[in-house]
Each structure stands twice: as structure tokens, then as C-alpha cells.
Symmetry: C2
Subunit: 428 residues, 2 copies
Amino acid sequence: MFITTLIFLFALTIIYNIAHDPLSVSVGFSIIGGLITCKLVPEFKESFIKAKLTGKDLAKDDKEPPIPECMGVICATVYLVCMFFFIPFPFMEWFSGKGKISQSEEFHAPTFPHHKLGEFLAAMLSLQSMTFLGFADDIFDIRWRHKLFLPAIASIPILMVYYVNFGVTHIVVPIPLRFIFGRIIDLGFLYYVYMSMMAIFCTNSINILAGINGVEIGQSLVIACSIAINDFLFLNDADPAVEAHLFSLYFILPFIGVSFGLIIYNWYPSEVFVGDTYCYFAGMTFAVVGILSHFSKTVLLFFIPQIFNFIYSCPQLFRLIDCPRHRLPRFNPSENKLEYSRVKMQKPLKKPASFVLDLFELLRLVKVDKGETSIEVNNFTLMNLLLLKIGPLHERTLAILVVVIQILASCLSFYIRYHLVHFFYEVV
Amino acid sequence: MFITTLIFLFALTIIYNIAHDPLSVSVGFSIIGGLITCKLVPEFKESFIKAKLTGKDLAKDDKEPPIPECMGVICATVYLVCMFFFIPFPFMEWFSGKGKISQSEEFHAPTFPHHKLGEFLAAMLSLQSMTFLGFADDIFDIRWRHKLFLPAIASIPILMVYYVNFGVTHIVVPIPLRFIFGRIIDLGFLYYVYMSMMAIFCTNSINILAGINGVEIGQSLVIACSIAINDFLFLNDADPAVEAHLFSLYFILPFIGVSFGLIIYNWYPSEVFVGDTYCYFAGMTFAVVGILSHFSKTVLLFFIPQIFNFIYSCPQLFRLIDCPRHRLPRFNPSENKLEYSRVKMQKPLKKPASFVLDLFELLRLVKVDKGETSIEVNNFTLMNLLLLKIGPLHERTLAILVVVIQILASCLSFYIRYHLVHFFYEVV
Ligand SMILES: [Mg+2]
Ligand SMILES: [Mg+2]
């Protein structure tokens, strides 16, 4: 308690003393956000249980009491409130009059940068919409099909601001494809479709690589840290993109803060669950940052495990293969370990289904057990695949494994982004 | 069903054909918002009951089944989504290139009006925050003291935009007070405190004049229509404030639409309850419009019944007089009418309490029954006062009475605003 107060005061001091440096203020708010989350989550446990927002931990003994669900909403709310208080800081020099006096137009416009403030507000609006919709989803269990479009609605504000602030809709074609498309294509309206698809993908892909203790926050933290590291790489340069990367850091750092505050309670053995709210909130943060800071491709690179998991899941998501309500690994109480879960289908299979099964078997991505009248196959998720290849694992071990894979994927992404990129683009 | 589709198509046609006139588009979206609310509310009833978001109707027989609670969140969500789609329209002329070509700087800046977009985004952000916090309040039952500050947090975005867009913090002193203060006072920081107090007041004052079927939406609709009428009065002039009043209309019209969609189910006998969510959402809409369109005093004039109810309630709100959890009128099943409810206090009373009681009795605002060891008095709300003066009323009659009082108060407000104002200010 004493130490917490000390850290809190320390963070406040940072903010107060270096209000002219928004980046340090952002660090201060991240620390404060983390501490507040850390304090509020146990306080709200009772209220969540009273409001019947609870879930059963499917990978534990049956005797365990129900666990408060969708605590991600606390973490997201703390984040949003922190951001409300943070937003004025990047504009401090205009407020204090400096921005108006200085006539050097190199970096600072002589008048207030309303378009910049618009970016912040739109980003906040999109994040808040997504949190709100995620919370509604946790409470009302919105149907899968409708769910898919919620992020598209939530991304409208950032798309609008993108339109009026940048309006850049052409993309530079990778070198190997230029003989077909030329050097630059103007995607026009399609670029906006691409951006809202990105919001849909980021939010849902984290939501489907989920289900065991700590794995949602674990992967999100790795992605967030990767984005932050990438941003810091640009800050050291005298780069024209420095403003965009600062923008990204302002949104990512507090996200890292509040996520740390929540993972303390969500790591194995979970005292609280994060709910769809957290997955949506995390995914939208990444999408917003990628879109408004113009490095959506780099953000997608950090999603390699999610992309793999999504493609691997497609046969079940699109119902080629039967999809049970839960595709979590199965808990084996006698060994206290998780095994891969399976789905049973009646024979004969439809053509596309058996084609997919054969293809995936050829790639050694599934294990098919053919019975007399039915076929059993493991559920198509990354976690089941890991358990299939490595054998039963303890829940905590599996969560660590997923996080480690995410870290390795980030290393690979940095390698692609800063070395292999020369094969595709001229720029660094 | 057929008629609904027809109206829907009609509204879409309006929007499509007169996209250049944002006001007509706003009318179109109001109609669409109302229809969608009207359609979604019955569809979501089951989900709300499943999610245990239900309440008992305290002014009905005990046998009635529980009723879905906090349906205001549907209405607010439809409103927000409609506004998301509406926001681009006022900026159409810039999008279509006209804004950039026309060099007449009289009304249209040659470049995109980022500060205007910022106003929209900030208003949306505040409304959405308030809806979100109201929804959280409905689910978790946040403590009364904390609740009071939620609107202050939600108003941060509009205050920030007010600061950078207008920054006007001086007020014109009413003529009778000028001998003390002079003609103009600069309130400075206090002006921002005043604005967030206004947000706190608007949201909570609607929330405490509530509790019987249809009364929350009824009063909000009267206030909203009054604001809209006031806006239209300014549109006819070649007034410099025309832009501000258009802004107000863009936010108020869809609000009227979705509220009509909801009151169909919430009017006596209620099929659904609106919850704190609706009250917060409605109050914040009025506060946002009042603040960003610079007629907060006029908005407060439309709140006369709420102001009376608030001042009258103060002794109980600040716990001078005991305050039971519910201060609703009491249902008398034998007559099927509502009677005023009472609170019992042990003798002897504390000094301030008996002073307040004596004062209010002198003003004939309460009825005190003095017993041997205890004192009984009616609860201090406008509705109890009405029942005390008029006698028991049917629930629907009481709701109509409150709405009629609200309408009369609005007429009085218009009289004050456009006639008596000469005693206080030089302007019209
Ligand atoms: Mg769900
Ligand atoms: Mg409540």
C-alpha cells in the first residue's frame, strides 16, 4: 500500500514537473493507469458477481466458485479516463501561448492544430465505441454475425478523420508485383474498406486466440510493446514520421499500463476474466494506432500468430467443419493438464469439408480419427495445434508458450520490417 | 410493417436527395433513428430479461412479471450510430470540393473547418461517455456520491473543445446586478466549473424527477422540443448565431426521434423501463447542446420544473431529512391510484431538520404528521407534492400532469427569454 502510494506520487511528480514533454507525461499516466486498474479490479469483483457478470473456468475443477467476467471493462474505462486527462498535454505549448508566439512554422503551426485534436478525439471515440460494444456483447451475447460488424461501426470516426486529415488512398506496390500494377495504385474507396477490415480483423483475431488464463492480455502486451519499440526506433531519427509515432506512443503506453494492472489478476490461476470487452478494446487500440499513424502494415506484421490462427480457424469459422460453441483445449483433471479438444462429425462429409480435411492432414495441421459412422478431428485453433504437437501441457505452460511464440513472431516481424523489406520496397 | 418500411424508405429518400442540406438529412436520420429504436426495443426485450436486466414496477400489482430495465441504452446506441453516419453531411460541401473552390470567406473558410469537426467529435465523445457510464451505473449500482462526478468526467471533451474553439469565459452581468459587478465579469477557470456543474445538474435533475411510467422520456421530449423550437426561431433570422443553432438542431432532432421510438413502449403501462442510462443520456444531450451552442442559460430556463424539484429535494438529498431508497409515490391497489409516499423520523429531530420542516410547512410545501415518538412527512419530490395538493391520481394522469407542467414551464421560459429578458440584458 505504502509503495503503491509512493509510485503514484512519483508518477504525479513526473507529470507535474515535465508537463512540457508529453511523452514523459504519457509514461506518468501509464503508471497511474496501471496502479488504478490494479486497485479497482479487486474492489469491483463483488459488484461484478452481484451483477451476475460471472463465468466458469472451464479448465479448472468443477468445484471452483464462478469468477467475475469481463473485467476488461474496468481496464478500458481507466484507460479512457486517463486519456481524457492526457489529451490536453500534447497541446500545452498552444495553451501556454508559446505555440501562438513562435512564428517558426517548421514544426509548429502558428495557430491551434485543430486537425491534430480531431485525431485524438476520433481515436478516443472509436476506442470508446468498441469498448461499449464489447461490453454490450459480454452482457447480451450478440450473435456472431452481428458481432463482426461492430468494429466497422466503431471505426467510422477514425476513417472520417483519416479522410479529412490525410485522404491518402494510394499504396506503393511491392517491387515483385510492379510488373502487373505499376509503382503506385490508388485504391480510392477500397482503402477505407481495407481500414475497416483491419479494425474488424484486429479485434476479432485477438478474440479467437483466447480462452485460457492470461493469454488474451499476454499476446496483447507483446503486440503493444512491439509497437512501442518500433515507435521509439523512429523517435531517434530526425524522421518526418516522428509526430505520427509520438501519437502512437501516447495511445500505446497507457494501454500497456492498464494491461499490466489487469494481468496481475488474470494470469494463471485467474481471479478475474477479461471478457470480449478487453479483446475488442485491445484490438481497436492497435487498429487505431496503425491507421492514424500510417503503419498499418507494420501493425499487421505483429499479428502473425493471430493471422495464422485466423486462417487455420477459417474452416470452422465459416462452418465448413462443425464448430462447437467452445473450442478451448479440454481440461484433464486427473493429470491437471490441458489436452487438445476435438469435434465429431457425422459421415459422410460434404465435399469441401473432406477436401479441407485432406489438405490440412497433408500439411500435418490436424489429426483425423476416422470411425465407422463419424470422423473426429481436433478443433482448428493454434492452441489445440500446439497441444497436438507437443502433448498435454499445464494451463500456465500453454499460456507462456503462446506468449513466447508471440515474442518470436515479433522478432521475425522486426527482421522482415527492417531487413527483408528491401526486397519489396525502396524505403527503409 | 408495410407502413414502417414506407416511412423508412421515405426518410432514406430525403437523405439521398437533399444531401446538400444537412438539416433535412438530420430530419431524415431522426425518423430512421426513431423507427430503428421502435423495432429494436421489442427485439431486445428477451435478451435483457436473460441478462437479468429487469426491474419491478413498484406502482403495479405484485403479480406482474419483471420488466426489462435500462432500455435507454438501446435508444442511446441507435442515436450514436445515427450520428456517426450523420456527421459527414454538414461537411459535404468541403468533401465535394465546393468548400475549397469557393473563395468567399464570409461563411465558409476556404479550408476544411477542422475546429467544427472537433466540436462534433467532442460532443459525441461526451454523449457516449455518459451513456457508457449510465449503463455501468444501471448494472453495478454505483454509489450516489460517485455517480455525481461521472457527468463531470464525461464533460471533459466538450470543455476542452470549448477551450480551444471559443475560450470565452466572461459573462455579461444582468442589469440589476451591474452596480456591484460591472457590466462584464471574466469568470476564467470558474466558467469551466460552471459548465461541468451544468452537465452534472442536467443529468441528475432528470434522474431524480423519475420513477413512474413515461415521465423520464415525457419531460425530456418537452425540453428537447423547446430547444428545437428555440433553434428554429434563430434560423429565420439572418443571425450570426445561425451556425450554433444548426449544430444544436443536428443533435436535438435525432434525440427527439429515438425518444419517440422508446416512449411507445415506456408510456403507461410500461413494457420496458429506460433506466438511469436514458436520464444521463438525455441530460448530457441538453448540456452538450447548451454549452457548445452558447445558450446554456436558455437551456437551464427549460429546466424550471427540474430546478424546482431539485431545490425541493435538497433537504433529503443532503440527508437533513431521512431519505428512503425509493421516494416514489405509493401505489394503492384498492383504488388503482398513486398516493404521496411518506418518511417517518424518530423524535427529537435535529435543529436543522426541524428548521427545514417548519420553513417548508410555512410555505405549504409539506404535510407533517406529528406523533408521540415520531414525525411523518411526505417525501420531498415534485410528484409527491402534486399528489399532496390534488389528491390520489392514476399513474397515467400523474405522468400527463408532469408533462403538462413541463410544457407550461417551457411557455413561461419562452416568455422570460423573449420578453422579460429586457429587464436583465440589452440584447434580444
Ligand atoms: Mg461473448
Ligand atoms: Mg441506478
